[in-house]
């Protein structure tokens, strides 16, 4: 549609920023580079808002916001039907994502001006940020699954580059490697899933896939593997890609380590945007999942639920504040995943609520992006002040950093689900959807919500209250560049819950008025308050209750502290098994057996050469004997054969 012709700038500009900063950045001053990047992003943000405004003010067709594809050109044609196109697809969720990404990214850009001040590689940092923004925007506006995969890989790479930004630090390098390889492994599943899906449906196009014109079930009918139908395999494998990016159990191990990156990066990539790509992916293909492969959706629910609980438990005992936030992120994303998983149909109106989870999930995605970015940026400000990630180095900071304190508290309240902060509304919808599906999931998720409130306030109290740690120099409030984003996000967090989200994003596209189910809401508020109260009791004032409690649940605590030893298992499998029992033997095999065979041929030639030298004895008469016997032998053979 022509009114969105300018939308390509949203993609082009960050790309240009990346190229400019990447190629010429080292010649610029820090200030120029930072300002260039930020102002570029500002333009994009404005454009994204204009797009959103225009899109959502468009007249609805049959009560639905039309899907708009302003650009879609052929990039690479595989076959007649399988074509990778690059284009821009605007529909409610992609427009919503555009807003989220640009907003958070802009905040992070501004914030980084202060946070990264004076770092070497400042220009590089902005270049990578631009690259990430570009990739992420490309991902959300993808018109087809292959375009999504392309940008999916690109966000992975930019995440790799940003996590490893402090490349002289061994742990950062290791973390970046881990993040990339784990997600890459998940992407393998994604790729195979795409291949399967496209093989059966003969298309990559999201529109074709989701508007019901091709049916995966029909085309893949009768094909099964290990008792599971090909359609389910395809969709489950695609989800595997999403699970990797969204750090779902058991592919979550990279995310806590990814906190080695600069904190704004964590806020942008590992909290607000990239990690929700998995959710976005499932949401994109939601019609396929919900209509054609509900069994996969069930599987998704289970994975999400396990992850949510697991991450929440682990988050309760971590001492590195960024890790707490990381596990909290995992847990919250799991909420979104569960919300999608519990959907039973596309319907979301007065007759049926089967699609409520979809709306809830997207809503939570939106709110979570804001308050989690806020949390991370706040944490960044704190780390900036105390130069440490450990809780033990903090405590009592509320006096020194009032703005940070307030904004952090708002975010904590939001994530804990206390009204009227945004988190309450979205989480409430999720719980409602879960209860809709079955009471089991509802209770389970409510429990996790309670844990969320607990660990968030444990974090909050440990940082801002409790015993004051010894500081080498007094912590001070962050500079303006850092506080402005905090304040902005805090404002958003406060009011985002009142956005009539259901009017914009629903599975069918039909408008839906969110109405709070007060039973569910009440329960969730109660649980949240219990959690907060517990945290207050334990952590508000310095005391030995936490230690005692940890002692009373020693083994659980240890296991949780070590994240249930998943890293160790992975390390064991990769280093001890794959490296030692696959790679090394193959390398050995290659050098000694394959190569050995080749060398053996050479050696055998030499050996033969050495051992037949006696033939050439130098003695005339033995020559004659050989001569004669040679002739006789030939004659004999001829006589025998003829």
């Amino acid at each position: 549609m022509e009114i969105f012709n300018y939308s390509f700038i949203i993609l082009l500009l960050p790309m240009l920023m990346f190229v400019t900063l990447g190629l010429c950045g080292h010649k610029m001053s820090h200030r120029t580079a930072g300002m260039l990047g930020t102002s570029g992003l500002f333009i994009i943000t404005v454009l994204a808002y204009i797009v959103a405004a225009q899109y959502f003010t468009m007249p609805r067709i049959d009560g639905v916001f039309a899907t708009v594809t302003p650009y879609n050109f052929t990039w690479l044609q595989f076959t007649e039907s399988l074509i990778i196109k690059l284009g821009i697809l605007l529909d409610p969720i992609s427009v919503m994502m555009l807003v989220v990404i640009t907003t958070v990214s802009l905040m992070v850009h501004i914030y980084s001006l202060g946070y990264m001040h004076g770092e070497t590689g400042f220009q590089r940092y902005y270049a990578f940020l631009s690259l990430f923004t570009f990739s992420m925007l490309g991902l959300v506006v993808a018109t087809n699954i292959f375009q999504m995969y392309i940008f999916w890989e690109l966000v992975g790479a930019s995440s790799y580059l940003l996590i490893g930004f402090y490349y002289t630090k061994q742990s950062a390098v290791a973390a970046s490697k881990k993040a990339f390889i784990v997600t890459r492994f998940a992407d393998l599943g994604f790729l195979i899933g795409i291949l399967l899906l496209s093989f059966f449906t003969k298309t990559f196009d999201f529109e074709t896939l989701t508007n019901g014109s091709v049916s995966l079930i029909d085309t893949a009918a009768g094909k099964s593997f290990l008792g599971i139908s090909a359609a389910s395999w395809a969709m489950a494998l695609i989800f595997m890609g999403g699970a990797g990016k969204s750090a779902m159990f058991p592919l979550h191990i990279w995310l806590p380590d990814a906190m080695e990156g600069p904190t704004p990066v964590s806020a942008l990539i590992h909290a607000a945007t990239m990690v929700v790509a998995g959710v976005y992916l499932v949401a994109r293909l939601f019609p396929v999942y919900v209509i054609q492969t509900p069994d996969v959706l069930m599987f998704i629910t289970v994975i999400g639920a396990i992850t949510a609980l697991y991450a929440a438990i682990v988050a309760c005992v971590q001492t590195d504040i960024k890790r707490v936030l990381a596990f909290s992120t995992i847990s919250q994303i799991a909420f979104m995943i569960v919300a999608l998983g519990v959907c039973t149909s596309m319907e979301l109106d007065h007759e049926g609520h089967g699609g409520l989870g979809y709306m809830a999930s997207m809503f939570h995605l939106f709110t979570h992006a804001m308050f989690k970015a806020l949390l991370f940026l706040g944490a960044g400000a704190i780390i900036h002040a105390v130069h440490s990630n450990e809780m033990s180095a903090m405590g009592g900071l509320r006096k020194y950093m009032p703005i940070t304190h307030i904004t952090f508290l708002i975010a904590c309240l939001a994530i804990a689900g206390i009204p009227p902060f945004s988190g309450f509304f979205s989480k409430d919808e999720i719980l409602a959807a879960a209860f809709d599906k079955s009471a089991f999931w509802g209770i389970w998720m409510s429990l996790v919500a309670g844990l969320t409130a607990f660990y968030m306030f444990r974090l909050y109290f440990n940082i801002f209250w409790g015993k004051e740690a010894h500081h080498e120099h007094t912590p001070h409030e962050a500079p303006k560049t850092m506080t402005i984003p905090l304040l902005f996000l805090a404002v958003v967090t406060c009011f985002a819950g009142f956005i009539p989200f259901g009017n914009f994003v629903t599975p069918t596209g039909l408008s839906y008025d969110i109405h709070l189910n007060w039973t569910v809401a009440g329960t969730s508020i109660a649980i949240a308050i219990i959690g907060i109260a517990l945290a207050t009791w334990l952590y508000m004032k310095p005391n030995d209750k936490p230690t005692r409690m940890a002692d009373s649940m020693r083994s659980l605590h240890t296991w949780a502290y070590h994240r249930f030893y998943f890293d160790e298992i992975y390390l064991f499998v990769t280093h001890k098994i794959i490296f030692r029992y696959i790679c090394a033997p193959i390398a050995w095999f290659d050098r000694h057996i394959i190569d050995g065979t080749m060398n053996l041929m050479a050696t055998a030639t030499q050996w033969a050469s050495y051992h037949i030298r006696g033939l050439q004895s130098g003695r005339l008469q033995s020559y004659a004997v050989v001569f004669l016997f040679g002739a006789l032998l030939v004659a004999f053979i001829v006589l025998c054969c003829m």
């Binding site: 008469q621 033995s622 004997v625 004669l628 016997f629 006789l632 004659a635 004999f636 006589l639």
Partner: protein, 170 residues
């Protein structure tokens, strides 16, 4: 009668050839070996006479006995002391020799004996006329041998030059 005499002469010659051949290759005195060779060559000439190839027999005696054996004797006298006995042959060497000789002989005899020679009868053509032989040697047609005759002269010349070149001191 004549046939019987011929047979007796044949067996006599054969015996001389066989015995002297063996002695020629086993005698440890080199001069004796040369002498046995001479006997063999004479007996061969006898064969030729018996087969009515008198000219060939004469050539055999002239060239071999008159030429080659004399050459041998000169060479032997030049290179070895009189009465010198050569060393004993090692048994492996003899074993190889015997094996070579016997297996070779066996194979050749087998093929010769199994072959069905097609006229397989002695055709008493009698003695060829010397003039005819001379014409054949000098003729240019089929079954005439001017060209080999000329060619062998080149060979002999070459051997003379070569032999002199090697044998002379300078």
């Amino acid at each position: 009668m004549e046939q019987v005499a011929g047979q007796i002469i044949f067996f006599l010659l054969s015996a001389v050839i066989v015995i002297c051949s063996i002695l020629a290759v086993t005698s440890r005195r080199i001069l004796r070996a040369a002498t046995y060779l001479l006997f063999v060559l004479f007996a061969t000439a006898g064969f030729y006479f018996q087969l009515d190839y008198h000219f060939l027999g004469a050539v055999q005696i002239t060239i071999y006995a008159g030429g080659i054996v004399v050459l041998f004797v000169f060479a032997i006298l030049l290179t070895s002391k009189l009465g010198e006995k050569s060393d004993k042959i090692s048994s492996t060497k003899r074993g190889w020799g015997l094996l070579a000789a016997i297996s070779g002989a066996a194979l050749c005899l087998y093929t010769l004996c199994t072959h069905d020679f097609f006229p397989s009868q002695y055709a008493a053509g009698g003695e060829w006329d010397m003039k005819a032989i001379g014409h054949m040697l000098m003729g240019m047609d089929k079954y005439q041998y001017l060209l080999p005759f000329e060619a062998i002269s080149v060979l002999l010349l070459a051997c003379i030059i070569g032999g002199i070149m090697i044998a002379r001191k300078r």
